[in-house]
């Protein structure tokens, strides 16, 4: 057991608050994504509260771990977790997608300190992460680079260009976490884990990463215990100096009965009633949510 009971309960409380704030923020701005941020909540919280060597007061600290949200449309999830972690006030979430905001629809590193790259056009984050990891080796720095990928976006060929080169340079300081939530924006007709076919169907991403020479760890991406132990293993580096891929099995729209496994919630604006239903489903009272 990595986590004491109290610590686990605290992370679970943060997860509920994050889920509610994601919905509330998208509701307020009238635009944004829901399904993808919800599936990544536990991963983001684990990274920002437990795993990464970071200091919210010094977002440009040279020796910090680097984090790249390759699936940039999950920006609202990242912003929520960063706010809760102390990078900026929770109240700033209300500016999401509004004019002059630091919280752009997709992460913009030129506006918000604490972002290590901009993202939005899919499938590009692993390459930037590879640059950081390669640079760390050249500069003899010991920080780790974490890249959060979506299972839909790894249909982009550029991801596999990066996977090949990362393996060739034996970058054991690079970890890709795949938010394997089983749905993409539209995808193929039929049923998989969600209400459309799985982005990879009969070809599991774990096998592809393995074929590219990565160490693969498969976990339940909503279980803090499993996320933390996988990240601990990843940070120590693979014995054969390989990069690590953590395949986190998740549920798109996780946590709310009306969003789980439904592709239509990829980007859909929740109504006031949806917010009420969310509070009930999460067992939260509005007064427990930071403003």
């Amino acid at each position: 057991m990595i986590l004491e009971t109290d610590a686990r309960k605290e992370l679970e409380r943060l997860a509920k608050i994050t889920r509610y704030l994601i919905l509330k923020t998208v509701h307020q701005s009238g635009a944004g994504h829901v399904g993808g941020p919800l599936s990544a909540v536990e991963i983001l919280i684990a990274l920002f509260f437990k795993v990464m060597r970071i200091d919210p007061k010094r977002p440009d600290w040279d020796d910090r771990d680097r984090f790249i949200l390759s699936k940039g449309h999950a920006a609202v999830g990242l912003y929520t977790v960063m706010a809760l972690r102390g990078y900026f006030p929770v109240s700033e979430l209300a500016t999401f997608d509004k004019g002059n905001s630091r919280l752009q629809g997709h992460p913009d590193m030129t506006r918000l300190p604490g972002l290590d790259i901009s993202s939005g056009s899919l499938g590009q984050g692993l390459s930037a992460g590879l640059g950081y990891a390669l640079g760390a080796k050249l500069a003899k720095k010991d920080f780790h680079t974490w890249v959060l990928l979506g299972d839909g976006e790894i249909q982009e060929g550029m991801v596999w260009e990066a996977a090949h080169v990362a393996s060739r340079y034996r970058l054991d300081n690079l970890t890709a976490i795949l938010d394997d939530n089983g749905l993409q924006q539209y995808g193929w007709r039929g049923k998989g884990r969600g209400d459309r076919r799985d982005p990879w169907d009969a070809l599991p991403p774990a096998r592809i990463f393995e074929a590219f020479g990565w160490r693969v760890i498969e976990i339940d991406g909503h279980d803090f215990e499993q996320i933390l132990s996988a990240c601990e293993i990843a940070r120590k580096g693979a014995p054969a100096e390989r990069p690590t891929a953590i395949i986190a099995h998740t549920v798109k729209g996780k946590g709310l009965p009306f969003t789980e496994g439904k592709h239509a919630w990829h980007s859909k604006v929740p109504s006031s009633e949806d917010l009420q239903r969310a509070l009930e489903a999460l067992g939260l009272d509005e007064s427990e949510v930071p403003r």
Binding site: S118, G131, A133, L134, L138, M158, R168
Partner: protein, 308 residues
């Protein structure tokens, strides 16, 4: 005569000595772009990225944000077409300090045909915010621009060519961004070029002078930024302006000069370049003649326009 790619390879080595954080990333073409010189001198700072240009742009962005100065080696077409999206989002939109050594630009790419002849790159790169767009006239300016680029913090696109071309600038030349170079004074017509095409304009001007047509010759090595007032001032005395470039007549040098003149000093501008079509495999002389870019063809066209 000296090829710009030769100057590129030599200067990388020179800059490698001066800047310990300079790296070279290659897309499996270093023996063509001459970046292999850098690998020979600094093997640990030469990173082969394989035939995967999109990833190369992303890796460069990460390295740049760690404080390295990555210089990239590939052909023009693979930067501005194959890798355009990461070039845009990860490099330009983050203002990453990445230097793009775009070898083999234009038509004279060594019998490759239209697949490798990039006649759209200037239009694409000029339209991209945050991007500096440079096209040196010769080996001397290539070196000068590369030295400047290492001091400048931000993305730079350097348009290079494959085959030897005349060296016209003096060794002591210093590059200033935006500056319009007056290579020859004239009276009847202003010829404006970019890249080594500017040297063919000089040649054309000499031929025209023998027939009594005095052509001024101007070189725009710095397409972006550009000293627009300087350009206007230099072109003001001329009744006619002719631009020539190894690029589409849309959106490149001709487009730029027309944009500037139309707003402040409207006058006739003739744009010589690739007229909305693809290139083809052929010897250089044949291509320059076919597309109206050789000195004799330029002179012929200018004569016709001046007389009309």
């Amino acid at each position: 005569m000296k090829a710009l790619r030769e100057a590129f390879g030599e200067t990388l080595v020179e800059l490698g000595e001066k800047y310990p954080r300079l790296l070279v990333l290659d897309g499996d073409l270093a023996n063509s772009t001459k970046a292999d010189r850098f690998e020979a001198a600094f093997p640990d700072r030469f990173l082969e990225m394989g035939i995967a240009e999109q990833n190369m742009l992303g890796v460069a962005a990460g390295l740049a944000h760690l404080g390295f100065i990555p210089w990239l080696s590939s052909f023009t077409v693979f930067f501005t077409h194959r890798a355009l999206d990461p070039l845009r989002m990860l490099v330009a939109q983050t203002h990453a300090n990445v230097k793009i050594g775009a070898a083999y630009s234009g038509l004279l790419t060594g019998y490759t045909g239209k697949t490798h002849q990039d006649v759209e790159d200037l239009a694409i790169m000029r339209a991209m915010p945050d991007m500096v767009v440079l096209a040196p006239i010769d080996a001397v300016e290539t070196r000068a621009m590369m030295h400047w680029a290492c001091e400048y913090q931000g993305p730079v696109y350097l348009r290079l060519t494959r085959d030897p071309s005349p060296v016209v600038l003096e060794a002591a030349y210093r590059f200033e961004p935006g500056r319009v170079l007056e290579l020859r004074q004239g009276r009847d017509v202003a010829l404006v070029g970019t890249g080594p095409q500017s040297t063919r304009l000089l040649e054309a001007a000499k031929a025209l002078a023998r027939e009594g047509i005095e052509a001024g010759v101007f070189h725009l090595g710095s397409l972006k930024p550009l000293d627009e007032d300087g350009l206007l001032e230099k072109l003001r005395p001329y009744p006619l302006v002719v631009t020539a470039e190894e690029h589409s007549i849309y959106g490149g040098l001709g487009g730029l000069v027309s944009e500037v003149l139309s707003a402040a000093d409207p006058k006739r501008v003739i744009r010589i370049g690739i007229e909305d079509r693809w290139g083809e495999s052929a010897p250089n002389d044949w291509l320059l003649d076919r597309y109206g870019l050789s000195a004799p063809r330029i002179a012929e066209r200018v004569r016709k326009e001046v007389e009309s």
